[in-house]
């Protein structure tokens, strides 16, 4: 019964989404208050219904109802409760249901919050566009990927969740990533609504800024947690692989980063409105493209999709309709938004933000080219090639390095116009810091000049932030520093996060040490000044797996114990063919110690073991966390809420007229 309830709720949600689209777009065009109210109500109803559908599937998963095909394939009665629940989004159908629910929730949030901030007709169009996207997505879900499909007779036991996914990471990574992907639908709908209106006002832009920032924060966290999860779960300590699936999340992130910067210029200075609208469309387009690439199997060989392209066709049609339609609208109407007579000198904050946009888009373009090139070449009848990490590292990093360098300057640049002389007078300490840090890093980076350059770049950026703060303190005193607006403080925090990530990315690779060794109980191996001693093995019995746990003791150069590590090798009852590695990791601010077990070697009692020392790897995610915090802090700036009150006051004045 629960499943039928969920199925029904999903079908009703689709109907409401369609209604939301019609009433929202129609009501916005006609200025009909009843239609508009209907659209806003439909958005809430749609959210409620998708939550019911999602809860129904979750309940069925908790009860291990294997009459549902999806659960029979992706769950198991022996799973711990946490993984029964997170397993709901562990595969195709369920993850799309999560996507649909998140979209509906964003829509409802906009419908509720936007009422206080946006003119009714504009909000109606915005909500209507979200309804349109929701209609397409829910139709896709129901027609090609129904999670409530029944299976009769039910199998006695489910095939189980992929053991790799039986990890708390599954609880955090997909929901956060989806919140980010789908959150970009809000700026998208905002842009399309502005195109439909044929104008864009500063107050609307001010409204859009925190929404875009929050979506960006979720995306940042989702990507960072995904990277961290790969690091500890896959057992070989990599944290970024340039896989199409990762690229699919990186591209919208880069464009969304450009968008939040461009929104700042548009809102504060009234310039580049057309450009900002285009970025909002592109960011969501790349989210959808990512979904297409991953779900259709055109790039990765997920067997079911290669043999059944229906889903791919559906998503491509959806992509065509959503992105093609909005770009067509942009082609016809974009010019109306672009008109402005705002002037500024090349050396100005506006100029720097434009350069930031150019570099970010070129970087996103590089990722797009690398990801799609093999597909395109083959589609044109050319050779079959692979594009992997060596390519991306070679082209992506040169595009990002100037961006980081520019970030330091942008923090102290003035709006409208600035002078190179003033910048040089301000920023020379940052330059000195960069030279010093770079020189200090050369011996440590063991002749990896690129790594040393990365450290210098990070020091330059950190120095630039310090200079910006110093400038404020000098002119306004410490109280000025304390009273700094959250938007500005958040910006500096996020930029500092970028510097931290740059240090991590620059050093974690070149300084890493790793060795594959054969070890038995009592053996020890020396690596990077540490002694890893294998003390012995213990059998472990988990709720749905059994395995072997090795006990390691790690000593530093002076013989002091620094860590005890317990890597495991597990075999899950349902998938004995997939032995899983649980790495033993000692995290540290400046280095991780990381041990993973391979396979036993013959019957000798020895094991193949990999030991790593990974300097600065935490900085990669630590920086991302700072960026996310900075984004959140900026999004909570009073200005965005004050703007609402000011606008209302203005309306109140106008009304008698």
């Amino acid at each position: 019964m629960t499943a039928e309830l969920g199925h029904l709720a999903l079908a009703l949600a689709l109907a409401l989404a369609a209604l939301q689209a019609v009433l929202g777009l129609g009501g916005g065009a006609r200025g009909d208050a009843a239609w508009i109210a209907g659209a806003l109500g439909a958005a809430r109803g749609q959210a409620l219904l998708t939550v019911i559908a999602f809860a129904a599937l979750t309940w069925a998963a908790v009860r291990s109802d294997f009459t549902l095909l999806y659960l029979a394939q992706n769950s198991n009665s022996q799973l711990p409760l946490l993984y029964k629940i997170t397993g709901v989004w562990g595969a195709h159908e369920g993850s799309l249901l999560l996507w649909g629910m998140v979209l509906a929730l964003w829509g409802a949030a906009v419908a509720i919050q936007g009422r206080r901030a946006l003119p009714a007709a504009f909000l109606a169009r915005l909500v209507g566009v979200l309804g349109l996207v929701g209609t397409g997505f829910l139709a896709f879900l129901l027609l090609t990927s129904n999670p409530f499909e029944r299976l009769w007779p039910p199998p006695p036991e489910g095939r189980d969740l992929n053991p790799l996914l039986q990890d708390p990471g599954l609880a955090a990574h997909p929901p956060l990533l989806y919140m980010g992907y789908v959150g970009l639908a809000v700026p998208f709908a905002f842009a399309v609504a502005a195109l439909l209106e044929g104008r864009m006002e500063a107050a609307w832009l001010r409204w859009a800024r925190p929404w875009a920032a929050v979506a960006w924060v979720f995306l940042t966290l989702g990507i960072a947690i995904g990277s961290w999860w790969a690091y500890y779960e896959l057992g070989w300590g990599g944290w970024w692989f340039w896989d199409p699936v990762e690229n699919a999340s990186l591209m919208p992130w880069l464009v969304a980063t450009a968008l939040i910067h461009s929104l700042a210029v548009s809102e504060k200075r009234g310039a580049f409105k057309g450009w900002t609208v285009l970025l909002a469309v592109l960011a969501f387009a790349l989210s959808l493209l990512g979904t297409f690439l991953v779900r259709s199997g055109v790039l990765t060989s997920v067997h079911a999709f290669a043999s059944d392209p229906t889903r791919g066709v559906f998503i491509l049609v959806l992509l065509l309709a959503v992105v093609g339609g909005s770009l067509l609208l942009y082609a016809l109407r974009g010019e109306r938004l672009g008109v402005s007579d705002v002037r500024f000198a090349p050396v100005s904050r506006e100029g720097a933000l434009l350069a930031n946009n150019a570099l970010l888009l070129a970087a996103a373009g590089a990722v797009l080219i690398g990801t799609l090139y093999p597909l395109v070449l083959e589609a044109l009848g050319g050779a079959k090639i692979s594009v992997g990490p060596p390519y991306f590292n070679a082209v992506f990093l040169p595009l990002v390095a100037p961006l980081v360098a520019l970030t330091a300057v942008a923090g102290v640049l003035r709006w409208k116009r600035d002078a190179v002389g003033r910048l040089a007078r301000l920023l020379w300490p940052a330059g000195l810091a960069a030279l010093g840090a770079g020189a200090a890093a050369v011996p440590a980076a063991r002749a990896h000049l690129a790594a040393a350059a990365g450290v210098a770049l990070a020091a330059w950026l950190a120095g630039g932030i310090a200079v910006a703060l110093w400038q404020r303190a000098r002119h306004q005193g410490l109280r000025g520093l304390a009273r700094m607006g959250r938007a500005e403080a958040g910006m500096h925090l996020a930029h500092l996060g970028l510097a931290v990530t740059v240090v991590g990315v620059s050093l974690a690779g070149p300084l890493e040490l790793a060795r594959d060794v054969r070890m038995g109980a009592g053996d020890a191996v020396r690596l990077g000044g540490y002694l890893f001693r294998l003390e012995g093995f213990t059998r472990v019995q988990g709720p749905n797996y059994e395995g072997v746990r090795a006990r390691f003791r790690v000593l530093d150069g002076d013989g002091r114990m620094v860590a005890r590590l317990f890597p495991e090798k597990r075999r899950y009852g349902s998938r004995t063919d997939m032995p899983m590695t649980e790495a033993g990791i000692e995290a540290g601010a400046f280095r991780d110690l990381y041990v993973s077990l391979g396979e036993p070697i013959g019957k000798t009692g020895d094991w193949a073991v990999r030991v790593h020392v990974k300097p600065f790897v935490r900085w990669v995610w630590g920086g991302a966390l700072l960026m996310a915090l900075g984004g959140l802090w900026a999004a909570s700036d009073r200005r965005y809420r004050m703007g609402v009150r000011l606008r209302r006051a203005a309306v109140a004045v106008e009304e008698p007229a």
Binding site: V298, S301, S307, L316, L320, G324, Y330, L375, L380
Partner: protein, 184 residues
């Protein structure tokens, strides 16, 4: 040097349209199929013990002078079971000899498989280590190579051969190669 407004605002749409067309093309393709660079090149030489008579050495030299098929198979490969009846029929009804490359298989298992299901092969070479498989660029079993009488690989089929693949790709190619053979 300034783009007209229509072009300027329409440019993203044009780029997207081109991209969408390419994605559409890409949908129909199976990303798992990797074309072999060996097509058009002489078959890599090998000499291996025969599966049935380990003391007898078989190899590329046996393939010369006739259009032939070389089928890579193993008893542990479930897809091989799928194409096996077709190979049996071809061995019975067609004039083309089928040679087997038994890939990373235990001799007993392989022989039991042939004895149970029938043996379509003139001989099967026993590639226990998979070394010859590497030379032939084998990455998924079953694979089938079409080799002309001069010993040049003319086509490689990846995965089990079904009736359609036989009718549409392999049989016409064999007929063509035989015409070449008949010509002086």
């Amino acid at each position: 040097m300034r783009l007209g407004p229509h072009l300027r605002y329409g440019l993203p749409l044009l780029v997207f349209a081109a991209l969408a067309a390419l994605l559409w093309q890409g949908l129909g393709r199976d990303p798992r199929l990797v074309p072999s660079p060996l097509v058009g090149k002489p078959a890599p030489a090998f000499s291996l013990p025969s599966l049935r008579e380990p003391s007898r050495v078989v190899g590329t030299d046996d393939l010369r002078g006739r259009v032939a098929l070389l089928n890579v198979w193993a008893s542990w490969c479930t897809a091989c079971r799928q194409e096996h009846p077709l190979l049996m029929r071809v061995a019975r009804e067609e004039k083309v000899p089928i040679y087997g490359l038994n890939y990373k298989d235990r001799r007993e298992d392989a022989l039991r498989w042939l004895d149970g299901l029938g043996d379509p092969y003139v001989w099967s070479a026993h590639d226990l280590e998979g070394r010859v498989g590497i030379d032939w660029g084998v990455y998924g079993v079953p694979e089938t190579f079409v080799i002309d009488r001069r010993g040049v690989i003319r086509y490689k089929h990846i995965g089990p051969i079904d009736e359609r693949a036989w009718r549409e790709r392999i049989a016409p190619l064999l007929a063509e190669l035989r015409r070449e053979e008949a010509a002086p």
